[in-house]
């Protein structure tokens, strides 16, 4: 394999609040290759979106990247000036956000919103951009593109709006698409349609996709590789196949169980106990220790580092071997 398309190394991000600080991302490293579909799975607040948003300069105002690098095509995105990042966003990296109801400008015709991406980057001239917009709308499965060009977002359903969002993200044929919970706000059937569309587009265009989601099942269906995040750290990282077969981090197991068992009648759903906490200080132990069934004193005193656990499989748990034995 050649150079990875995007490689994030030892990223740390903090948010300052009125009284304290939130440690959102605490040393995350991963790479994504050309043509790869990577799934980043975790609960809300696990730092999965923040990781990617900070790489492309879309962090909220109160967020601060304290250390790390994000190399994309030989440039460290974190060191670029805002203007240089503007050139990369939309042209080389496209983004689809979670809520299509609020992510489109309500008072701008959707055609103009798609065209804007191309015109901003001088990707196409006015006429060409218009033609391409129609083609994109068609490709996204929006009937009658010519008349829909002039419609406003409120005239579309949620699913259709998400298709428009995808069209915007893909307008300049980026090499990397970041899909931040792209189907969370949609109905189940629409979710499937959007996923199928994304899958299809990825194959046709040969682009890489990072799918950020809390839906473990969705990630395993769509992605080649999976990263599980918790407390701003990577808990486990593996190919999808391996992950399904031999995930051994207690948190991943919890995630897996919570979807697998829902389907079985009569069986009790086993959620992960308690809710996630917000980190307001640097970690001194495993972030999952409070909710884990296997916690020992060591977990509370020593931060587990990501380590190899078989081929193409890494995890951060002191007791993974025992857990694996116990589960199997």
């Amino acid at each position: 394999m050649g150079e990875p398309l995007l490689s994030i190394d030892d990223l740390h991000v903090k948010f300052s609040r009125s009284e304290d600080e939130v440690y959102a991302v605490n040393g995350v490293s991963f790479t994504i290759d050309a043509n790869e579909a990577l799934g980043i799975v975790g609960e809300s607040g696990s730092g999965k979106s923040v990781t990617l948003m900070s790489a492309i300069g879309l962090l909220r105002e109160n967020g601060k990247i304290t250390s790390g690098t994000a190399n994309f095509q030989g440039q460290n995105l974190l060191k670029l000036r805002p203007k240089q990042l503007e050139d990369i966003r939309g042209r080389d990296i496209g983004v689809v956000f979670q809520d299509p109801m609020t992510s489109l400008n309500p008072i701008m015709r959707i055609g103009d919103q798609i065209m804007e991406a191309m015109l901003t980057h001088h990707y196409a001239g006015r006429k060409e951009a218009f033609e391409r917009t129609l083609q994109l709308l068609h490709e996204m499965g929006i009937p009658d593109p010519k008349s829909r060009f002039k419609s406003y977002p409120h005239e579309f359903s949620g699913g259709m709006r998400q298709r428009i969002m995808i069209a915007i993200a893909l307008a300049c044929e980026p090499q990397l698409l970041i899909a931040d919970e792209p189907t969370t706000a949609l109905d189940v059937t629409v979710q499937m349609q959007i996923l199928a569309l994304l899958q299809d587009l990825r194959r046709k265009r040969g682009m890489s996709v990072v799918m950020v989601t809390h839906d473990f099942g969705l990630a395993t269906n769509f992605c080649d590789n999976i990263i599980v995040m918790y407390g701003g750290q990577i808990m486990e990282k593996a190919t999808t196949d391996q992950f399904i077969r031999e995930a051994a981090h207690p948190y991943s197991l919890g995630l897996k169980r919570s979807i697998i068992e829902v389907g079985h009648k009569g069986k009790e759903i086993l959620p992960i106990p308690k809710t996630a906490k917000t980190l307001t200080a640097a970690l001194t132990g495993c972030p999952f220790a409070d909710r884990c069934n296997y916690t020992t004193d060591r977990c509370r005193q020593e931060v587990p580092q990501l380590r190899a656990f078989g081929t193409n499989h890494e995890l951060a748990c002191h007791h993974a071997e025992e857990v694996a034995c116990y589960v199997r």
Binding site: E86, G90, G94, V95, F97, T102, I107, M108, E116, H121
Partner: protein, 320 residues
Amino acid sequence: MAIVKFISKRIIQIIITLIMVITVSYIMMYYSPGGFMHTSTMATALAPLQGQNPVLYQEVMNQFQSRYGLDLPLWQQIAKYIWHELTFDFGNSMQNPSLQIAGQLKQALPISVMLAFGSVLLSVIIGVPLGIIAALKRNSWVDYVVSTVSLAGQAIPAFVLAVIMVLLFGVVFQGILPVTGWGNWKQAILPIICLSAANIGVVARYMRGSLIETLRSDYIRTAKAKGVKYWPMIMKHGVKNSLTAMITVLGPQFAFTVMGTIWVEQIFAIPALGQVMQTAFTSFDYPLAITSVFLLGSMIMILNLLVDIIYAFIDPRVKL
């Protein structure tokens, strides 16, 4: 045409509101103790005459009452009055029966309209950019000045400001700008500034808040993700959207401005609607009073209608 339908619907609403205004004010004035609207008050006033010359008394009563339609039942009086007002047939003053109200208003009304619309325009032209700057440079000195001035503008009514202006330009900087009367454009400057000052602050404050809110919205994030440059993003996505949010609050604010004109006219001694109203109200000249209330209400509602039309043009979600 949707827009025609929208406007005609709103005009009907306005007319209904005006009918209610006329009805309420007519009834209240009919039962007021001062003046001659009610037969009994008229009778009390003319009581001495009744003793001396009953025939003349009856004649005066009849003549007066039939001239102003006071001999009819109340509801007919009101209906007649509404019809006259809506067809701009204002009749004659009660204090100076020879004076036509329309003639009196011919000079006064345009001045008031000009003052009101001029100050609304000025406050938008200055307030919107100020608000944008305050929002983009949050917590800078511009921001503090805007928020303090707008608070002060909200607190200090136009007439107090007018008084301060009179002091400043009448005493301290004598001779730079005229502080009384009406006739040339220079005399419009101070009144319009007084009327706009509060609005500039309010418009700027709303614009600031609205833009800050808008810039936090998801579609701004989408624009950033598209790589849209800073100023196009602010103007096309931020400002345009925050204008829609701001416009809705402007209506009531401008109503207050129109009201403010009649105060400011008093201080600057401008012969406009305010002075007509003062004469009408202090001398119990009911036809004149109701007509001026009617015109003031119309001005406010036409201004609101204009705001709504602009709103509908900017925001496609508004159903016409």
